[in-house]
């Protein structure tokens, strides 16, 4: 049941408009940061206020204006969208608190631009989450690219500029491919309002057209989802400040890409159509290869943030693979993984940032014994590592369970082994860090002076997210009913399995 | 051009015969444009030609004083206004732009009874306007084009 409501529009508008306020308050850092937190909380409140309705099946929708004759700018709080929107707005609150500590700790330049772009990015991400049709989705998807660009190049070094160019090249190309597909659908007169069974039923039997559309649309979204070989912008973008990496990798950009895969595959093409044409297999194989290859690459990197970046590439493909399997179990797993990976990976990045602020170290090999210096931070890191490896009862165990079950369900046992291999490799590239931190002290190197924990503003968020990785593993419905939402989406769409 | 010695014959021929003849011809072309070939453009061009001829061939010509540059600008502007203004007058009189039929030209005919219709008077007025505009503009243009260049003066 769809009911008209201004809430979805407000949820997107508050951060977008608030960004101007943040930028205007540049001369008063304290007020600016209070406003940032207030914005984040207000947005979270708006999103959460729509949750009960969505779980009850009363979907709020806001139609704003016509973008093109017959196609509206419309926002809708359906289950899948709410899942992503809640995650994004919730993590935004934590990231904002963390950013304040981080940016002040490092005395970074141009902080107003940073907070403003941050707010804009979250607004665009919420737009992506709540978009009710493909054109609205494309609009926010492109805006997300644009708004995150200043964050990627925040350092303004040559390396950052090069990374920014690469980032723009990849994501704009993806956006354009998506636009190409959208235009085509609009020209054929197909209403692209997302619907649970897909909207391309009329194309059944026209395999060539479906394949071409699949290449354009899925190709467009998997760029942001960093499926190999379209992933290389993501490690490059690691030059950005750590809160940005946290946002990019856990919340906004890559999740928008993955979420786009859900939207395109399930809500545009529809399960039945993809199964008929077999287009899902290509994507599934590509994603499976990415899971393994990216994990192997992560093993080789000494730079902590790069290692995490490749880990992200790998885990995003878990989700893409889960969606591509087209079954309700796999889809539930994919959506849970989207949430679980968000909260887990953001913990890891928060930790990396905290370490950087306190010690200015970025390489894994330099972290011997740091666990004694920063026990809380490294404790959270350990929790998140356990979650990444899929150890029960952490959240990513639950999602992998469903993903694996989905693979079995789709009679594609090979992919089950991919998931298992991915888990083992995750353990392989994360556990050594934990081990170094706690059980090893470097003989050739002594810590000069007591570093201690980072400021409370940084430690509190990472502790919260680290613990959430555990809590959501046990009770995924607390407090945002993620599990209900995921199953609601899966049951609504994959029912034909 | 100031140091040129005018021959008496040239002086006489140009000033007493050619220039008046050309100017007269120009006026004839203008006035008889309704019945014979010619009209404003030709008349303006011929008049300008006469002026230019006298300027090119004679030094210290009074034509230069009579038709100084500001005056030529004035003449051109006056001609343009005569034409465009007739159109506006038609608009004010309630017709379409340049619709002479609606302007009450009868009063002109009463002062100067030559038995012309409204449209004929309108045509004549705009032909005069064209003549003035073309004459002023062309004379001015040629005047500027033939102006010798002082090397000391630098252009910005």
């Amino acid at each position: 049941m769809i009911e008209s409501s201004p809430l979805p529009a407000l949820a997107v508008a508050v951060p977008l408009i608030g960004a101007a306020l943040v930028a205007a308050l540049g001369s008063m850092p304290n007020v600016r940061e209070c406003v940032s937190i207030a914005l984040a909380l207000a947005t979270l409140g708006l999103v959460v206020s729509m949750l009960p309705g969505t779980t009850d099946g009363r979907v709020a929708e806001a139609t704003l204006l016509e973008l093109s004759p017959g196609i509206n700018l419309a926002l809708r709080a359906d289950a899948a969208g709410m899942l992503f929107a809640t995650l994004a707005s919730f993590l935004w609150v934590l990231t904002t608190v963390y950013s304040i500590g981080y940016m002040r700790g490092l005395e970074e330049q141009k902080q107003s631009r940073f907070y403003a772009a941050f707010a804009l990015s979250v607004g665009a991400a919420l737009g992506v989450a709540l978009a009710a049709n493909l054109l609205t989705f494309v609009l926010f998807y492109e805006l997300l690219t644009l708004f995150t660009y200043p964050l990627v190049i925040h350092r303004e070094s040559d390396e950052a500029i090069r990374a920014g160019r690469k980032y723009l090249l990849y994501t704009l190309s993806g956006g354009l491919a998506l636009l190409g597909g959208t235009v085509w659908l609009a020209q054929m007169g197909i209403d692209t309002t997302f619907s649970e069974g897909g909207v391309l039923g009329s194309l059944t039997g026209r395999d060539g057209t479906v394949w071409a559309l699949f290449v354009l649309l899925a190709g467009g979204v998997i760029v942001k989802a960093a499926v190999m070989p379209l992933h290389s912008w993501l490690p490059a973008a690691m030059v950005a400040p750590t809160p940005v990496s946290a946002l990019l990798h856990a919340v906004a950009v890559v999740k928008a890409g993955v979420f786009g895969v859900v939207r395109v595959l399930i809500f545009v093409f529809g399960v039945d159509l993809l199964r008929d044409t077999g287009a899902w297999q290509v994507l599934a194989i590509g994603a499976a290869a990415t899971v393994v290859l990216a994990s192997l690459l992560a093993l080789r990197h000494d730079n902590l943030k790069r290692r995490l970046a490749y880990s992200t590439v790998s885990h995003l493909s878990y989700i893409v693979l889960g969606v591509a399997l087209l079954g309700p179990l796999a889809l539930t797993g994919a959506l849970l993984h989207l949430v679980g990976h968000g909260v887990t990976k953001i913990t890891l990045f928060f930790c990396a940032g905290a370490i950087h602020v306190r010690t200015h170290r970025e390489n894994v090999s330099e972290l011997d014994g740091i666990g004694k210096q920063m026990p809380v931070t490294m404790g959270a890191f350990a929790l998140a590592s356990l979650s990444m490896a899929g150890i029960p009862p952490f959240v990513l165990f639950a999602s992998k369970w469903y993903l694996g079950a989905g693979a079995v369900d789709a009679s594609a046992i090979a992919f089950l082994f991919v998931y298992i291999a991915g888990g083992v490799l995750s353990a392989g590239y994360l556990f050594p860090i934990v081990a170094r931190a706690f059980w090893r002290s470097s003989p050739s190197f002594t810590w000069s002076g007591w570093h201690g924990e980072a400021s409370l503003k940084m430690v509190a968020p990472l502790l919260v997210t680290g613990l959430l990785a555990l809590v959501w593993g046990i009770a995924p419905n607390l407090p945002f009913s993620f599990f209900s939402l995921a199953t609601q989406v899966a049951n609504g769409t994959g029912g034909g399995a | 051009m100031t140091d040129r010695h005018d021959s008496v014959l040239l002086h006489f021929v140009v000033r007493a015969v050619m220039v008046p003849a050309i100017l007269l011809f120009g006026l004839y072309v203008l006035v008889h444009g309704d019945a014979s070939p010619g009209g404003g453009f030709q008349a303006g061009a011929i008049l300008a030609g006469g002026l230019i001829l006298s300027r090119l061939s004679l030094s210290g010509d009074e034509g230069r004083r009579l038709f100084s540059r500001p005056r030529l600008v004035m003449i051109a502007v006056l001609g343009m206004f005569l034409y465009a203004g007739t159109g506006v007058a038609a608009m004010l009189a309630g017709g379409d732009y340049l619709d002479y039929g609606v302007i009450a030209f009868e009063s002109i005919d009463r002062i100067l009874p030559i038995g012309l219709g409204r449209r004929e008077i309108g045509i004549f007025i705009i032909e005069v306007g064209v003549t003035l505009a073309v004459f002023g503009t062309l004379a001015l243009v040629v005047d500027y084009l033939t102006e010798p260049h002082d090397p000391e003066e630098t252009e910005g």
Partner: protein, 81 residues
């Protein structure tokens, strides 16, 4: 109208136009262009367009010629091509 005469005039037109573009002496070129315009005016008069002929001769040959001569009188007379 005698078409042979017309043909001859057209021939002269082509000739003068080519000369105007060919000769390196700019004054000669301008003179040739003036002749060209004059012949064109004559042709127009032959075809019954006396108004146009008068204009072409007054403006096209006369004024243009005077302006061109005025303009090039300030320049080097020889053209490079």
């Amino acid at each position: 109208m005698v078409w042979e005469l017309e043909l001859a005039l057209y021939g002269l037109l082509v000739l003068t136009s080519v000369i105007a573009l060919w000769v390196r002496d700019l004054l000669a070129a301008v003179a040739s262009l003036t002749v060209y315009s004059f012949i064109a005016g004559t042709l127009m008069a032959l075809m019954g367009a006396v108004d146009v002929a008068l204009t072409e001769i007054a403006l096209g040959a006369g004024v243009t010629g005077v302006m061109l001569i005025g303009g090039i009188s300030l320049m080097r007379r020889r053209s490079s091509d």
